[in-house]
Each structure stands twice: as C-alpha cells, then as structure tokens.
C-alpha cells in the first residue's frame, strides 16, 4: 500500500454513549404530549428492512441486524457466518459487502453510498491496483497459482477496509479506532514493545511455517501435513491476537459488572423512593396527627423488614394478583387506604402480569401516589387498555397541575421510579399538564405476545 489513509479527525463523544441504556429524552420540555403518544405506538414490533445493529455487535453489527430482521437467534446467525467463512471464505466477503451495503441502525445512508462520493478514498483504492497487478504478474511468471488467486481476496479486503474506515459514520469510526485497531496492539508503551516485536515475529514465523508446510510440504508424512500446518497457523493466530482477546474479555466482564451494579442501584433507589421516602413525606404532612404518624411508621417498618429479610420488594405488586385488572385492584386499594383519596379504575381488555406489566403497574402507582400527594384533587382516574401489541395506562387528576418543563430532571419520583421502570422494559412515558389544569401521565408498554 503506497499511502496509508490519514485518519480523519475524531471528535470526543464518549464511547459508552452510543450504548447508553439509560439515556432518555429529558424530562423538561414544553407543556403538551411528549414521548410516544398512543398514536405512535404501533411501530414497536415492526420488522423493517435489515439494518446493522448498534447494540448487538461484535464487528459491524451485521449478524445482529440479520437476527433482528428475521427473528433468528443472533448466535445461530453468527455460527452460520463463521462456518461460511471457514469453508471457502465466502462468509467474510458477504460480511464485508453487508457492512458496505447495509445502513447502520438509525442512519439513512449506507457506507457505500457515502464512499461513492469519497474521491480521495477511491484514489487510494485505485493506488492499490498496481500492487495487485504486480503481484499477479510475478505470480504468473513464477507459476505460483496459489499466490495469484490468494491476492484477489486480500486486495478486495484492503479496498473494503479503506472505504469503510474513511466513510463510516462518526460513532462507528470512534468504535473502529478504539476497539478494532487496538487488536494489533501497535501503540503499547516502551516496555511492551519488545514483547510485541517478539510476539509478532514468533507469530509470523509460525504462520509462514504453517503456510509453507501446507503449500509445499514434504513428500513424506503426507497424512500429517494438513494437521501440522493448520496447527501452526492456529498457533500463530493465538500468539499474535491472544493478549488482545484476553484484554477484550476482561473489559467485557468489567463492563457487564458495572452495568449490573448501576442497574441494581437504580432499582434500589426506585424502591426506597416508593416506600421509605414516600412514607417520610406522608409523616411530615401529618405531623399534627400523632396516631396517624405512628400507624404510618409501623406499616413502613413492616414493609421494610419484609423487604430486607424476606426479599419481597416494597411498593410492588406481589403475588396477590395475577392479571392486569387484579394488579390495578391492589393498587387502587393500597393508594386509597394510604392516601385517603378516591381512585377510579377503568380497564379495557385483560392480560397476565408479566415482569413488564408489573413494572407498568408500579409506575402507574407512582404516578397515582404523586397525584394523591401533590395535585390536591380528591380523586384520580386510572384508565388501562390492552391492545394487540401494547398495554397503556393513563393516570389523570383534575388537581392544580404543574408545568412539565419546570420539574427538575433529577426529581426522584418522576425521573427514576416512573421513567426508569418503563425504560427497563422498552416502554414510554408521556406527561401532559399545565398549571391549574390537572395532569395526565400516559404510560405505554410494548406487549410480548408470548406472555399474553
């Protein structure tokens, strides 16, 4: 290759940002519906054209995209690609083509369409052509047919790599630079340089040895030849890439642990808010009624104990209900008993309580309790509707209302309990309120058909 493509300047968006599961549209905003209204609900389950997946990816998200579009398990798709690649190398070619031809999830143009207008990239590719021609000529002259046919895929791969690297979107480029290039461990510090040199030399020696054994071989021990050659090549790959694989696995485990920890903390915060903080707020509001305070404190103590020692989460629908209607019944009874307001429940349709539906009801309870505490309205209306692909719950009060834009983002009640609960199960939240005009919280959850 005569000239290495200059790496384009890379802005510094955080790497994790693209995969951030906790990102949601900010709470603040103009009054009126936000998020998915019930009108836009239908596109959740729609399987559109194949797009490369952002979340499920090892290299470029092709397998993940295929899996999402067809519904086949992603592991099966990956195994298929690997088998195709091992057999004849056609899998790699298909994968590279898919990388070029399929747009990344959330983008409208493909890398190829962008590459078509990338003059410099095309010139770079053309610059590699003489090398290919030279190799072909030499191979022809020396009667090395293997080298001749081998150089084609290498050329195509190099051309593809140049075009992909130059025309990938920002996010993907960040990822290529951060995750793919370190595979070669070229930027290790001084101390590691020796190790790197030795590693690569040994790897190259082993690999060349393996290839030589495979191609030339000795007339003797013909049966052992392929095995020995393959072993040497595999050994070479392990020596060169091994340390990178190890570090990748370590990173992956660390990332997974960090995510689990963050999720656990968020759940914990939501539950503490639902139970302990709610009760403390109630106690403050009824400070002039000692009996009520004692009753509240006792109830909270019982609940907290059962959570700490029996593992039953407070503020959630327990085993006393098995259906949406049953769960809303429990909600209605509890909120009416705890807050002395009337809760009107209207349910259309019915579904079983899956984990997601439980979270939906918990979020609705949070919204109801919020309305009971802050709206000043004597009654709250809950409307739940089960459709073929979604469950929606609307919590409405005719109280004093508020300006959704003026609620700080970090207000626990709304930000954590409601939104985080819904986010965990792919649901959405929309709030409509204006001062003096009551409030309505709309919660929507895509329904998994298998749990109906």
């Amino acid at each position: 290759m005569p000239e290495a493509p200059a790496p384009p300047p890379i802005p510094e968006p955080s790497r994790g940002g693209e995969r951030d599961r906790w990102r949601h549209e900010s709470w603040a905003g103009p009054a009126g519906w936000r998020g998915h209204g019930h009108r836009g609900r239908r596109h959740h389950r729609l399987r559109g054209p194949i797009r490369r997946s952002r979340q499920t990816r090892v290299v470029a998200g092709v397998c993940g995209g295929v899996a999402e579009a067809t519904g086949i398990d992603v592991t099966l798709v990956r195994i298929g690609f690997v088998l195709l690649s091992l057999g004849s190398g056609v899998g790699i070619l298909v994968y590279a083509l898919a990388w070029l031809l399929l747009p990344l999830e959330g983008e409208s143009t493909t890398i190829l369409s962008r590459a078509a207008s990338d003059r410099r990239g095309i010139r770079l590719v053309l610059a590699v052509v003489p090398v290919l021609v030279l190799v072909q000529v030499v191979a022809g002259a020396l009667h090395l047919g293997y080298l001749g046919s081998f150089s084609w895929p290498v050329f195509l791969a190099a051309a593809g790599a140049i075009l992909i690297r130059r025309n990938a979107s920002e996010a993907e480029r960040v990822w290529i630079n951060d995750d793919l290039l370190p595979m070669l461990h070229t930027d290790v510090d001084r101390r590691g340089r020796w190790a790197l040199t030795i590693r690569i030399s040994v790897g190259v020696a082993l690999g060349l040895g393996g290839l030589l054994v495979l191609i030339l071989g000795h007339p003797t021990g013909a049966a052992l030849r392929p095995i020995a050659g393959s072993l040497l090549v595999v050994g070479a790959i392990v020596v060169v890439f091994g340390p990178w694989w190890l570090s990748l696995a370590r990173d992956l485990i660390a990332e997974r642990q960090a995510r689990a920890l963050a999720e656990e903390r968020a759940q914990m915060a939501a539950h503490v808010h639902d139970s302990v903080l709610q009760t403390l707020a109630l106690i403050q509001r009824s400070a002039d009624d000692p009996q009520h305070v004692v009753r509240l404190a006792r109830a909270q103590e019982r609940e907290l104990r059962s959570w700490l020692f029996d593992g039953r989460l407070p503020g959630t629908i327990g085993d006393e209900a098995a259906t949406l209607t049953g769960g809303l019944d429990v909600l209605q009874r509890q909120v009416e008993a705890d807050h002395g307001i009337t809760v009107n429940v209207v349910v259309v349709g019915e579904c079983q309580l899956s984990e997601g539906v439980r979270a939906l009801i918990d979020a609705a309870r949070e919204a109801t309790v919020n309305a009971a505490k802050w709206s000043g309205a004597p009654q709250v209306s809950i409307y739940a509707e089960v459709e073929s692909d979604t469950v929606a719950i609307y919590v409405r009060d005719r109280g004093r209302g508020f300006d959704p834009g003026a609620v700080p983002d970090d207000r626990q009640g709304i930000a954590r309990s409601i939104r985080a609960r819904m986010d965990r199960f792919g649901g959405s939240v929309a709030i409509r309120s204006a001062p003096g005009d009551g409030a309505e919280v709309g919660l929507s959850l895509p329904l998994d058909r298998s749990v109906r």
């Binding site: 209207v346 349910v347 259309v348 349709g349 009654q379 409307y383 509707e385 409405r396 005719r398 309505e440």
Partner: protein
C-alpha cells in the same frame, strides 16, 4: 324544558338520604317535580307529571330501574332517564342503558358534574361515565361477534372516531376536552356519543345481550 331553561327533574331512589342530598346539590338550578322510592309508584307519578329528566337508581325495590323504564318509555318516549348507581357492575349498567336510559353516572359524582349531566340528558344527548365508556370499548372490542341475530354490521361495531372519543372519555376527559384533543366541535363529540348510545341499545352483540339475558330481560 319549561320554566326558562330549568329542567324538571324526578328523583327515583330508595334512600331518602340520597334524594335529599341530590336535591340539596342541584339546588335551585332544577325544578324537582317529584320523588319516589320504589318502581310502581315511580311509574305512576312519572307518567302523570312527565318530567324532563328522571334520575333513576339502578337498584330499586319492585323490579329495579328497568321496571321503571319499561313502565314509562312505551307511553312517554320523550321522558329521558339518567341512571345513577353505586354499583359499577357491567350487568347493571348495560341493562339499564339497553332498557332505554340515556346515560349513566356513579353516585360519587360531584354536584357540578351531575348538573352538567342532567342538562346534557335534558337536551337529548347521551352521558357516559368513564366506567361506561370502558365497558362499551370492551364490549365492542374485536371483530363482529359471530351468530348475532339481526346481522346489522353497522350496529355491531364502533367507528374508529367513536372509539377515539370513548377512549378519551374513559380516560376522564370532559366532552369539551375531548373536542379540543381531537380538534372537533363539542357538538360533533355529542353526536358521536349519541350514536354509540344507539348502537349500545340496538346492537345484538353477544357481549351486550349476555348481560341482558342473565337478568331475564330479553
């Protein structure tokens, strides 16, 4: 409606306390022309005094609210009935609506809302509580029920617009708010609700007839 827009009201309820409460709440905005605490007396008095609107308790000694409806409507279809009930059970609500009531509200309704409901019924419109709207959505859910006798497809399903209107009513919206949300006039909302009421009364969908049959009304 006589007397300068003050609707003439007749109260039918077996609880004297409740009748007194309604009287007090509606106050001078209406003209209460009579009361009754059981079905037979109610039929006789209503046929005699011909009020604009009858506030009818669903559960009543002597045959329930349906007995009153059956005793009055064949002779005086111009008398309008608004059903009141503490019960939210669908069989009660659907039964009185199918027997001819023009609306249904729960007894927990506020005085202002009750007044609005009375005026709406007096003007010939229908009054749906969120609860009733929910029932209707439930009953008309899905495709047409097989085996319905009359086979008038028009009556056996709701139009998408009617569905939208009912959904908002079930969420606790007033007619005015429904109109604003859907970008239509309040009159249009009323005509949608009236059309739903007609379907509710005339449709032979299994979900509707079942409740009536259970009570041996058909």
């Amino acid at each position: 409606m006589s007397d300068g827009g003050r609707p003439r009201i007749f109260l039918v309820d077996d609880h004297a306390m409740f009748r007194a409460g309604v009287r007090a709440e509606l106050g001078t905005a209406v003209d209460v022309v009579g009361e009754a605490d059981e079905a037979d007396a109610a039929v006789e008095l209503i046929n005699e005094r011909l009020p604009d609107v009858v506030l009818l308790d669903v559960h009543l000694p002597g045959g329930g609210g349906q007995a009153v409806l059956r005793g009055v409507l064949p002779h005086h279809p111009e008398v309008r009935f608004l059903a009141l009930s503490v019960s939210d059970a669908p069989e009660d609500v659907i039964a009185v609506i199918r027997a001819g009531a023009r609306g249904y509200v729960t007894k927990t309704i506020s005085g202002v809302e009750l007044m609005a409901a009375v005026q709406r019924v007096a003007a010939g419109d229908a009054v749906f509580s969120p609860r009733l709207a929910g029932f209707v959505l439930d009953a008309f859910a899905g495709s047409r029920t097989l085996g319905s006798a009359t086979g008038d497809p028009e009556l056996d399903q709701l139009s998408p617009r009617e569905r939208e209107v009912l959904r908002l009513i079930a969420r606790g919206y007033t007619y005015k708010e429904v109109a604003k949300d859907l970008g239509i006039s309040a009159k249009t909302v009323e005509s949608h609700v009236s059309s739903v009421l007609r379907k509710l009364q005339l449709s032979t969908r299994h979900e509707l007839t079942r409740w009536a049959t259970d009570r041996r009304l058909v």
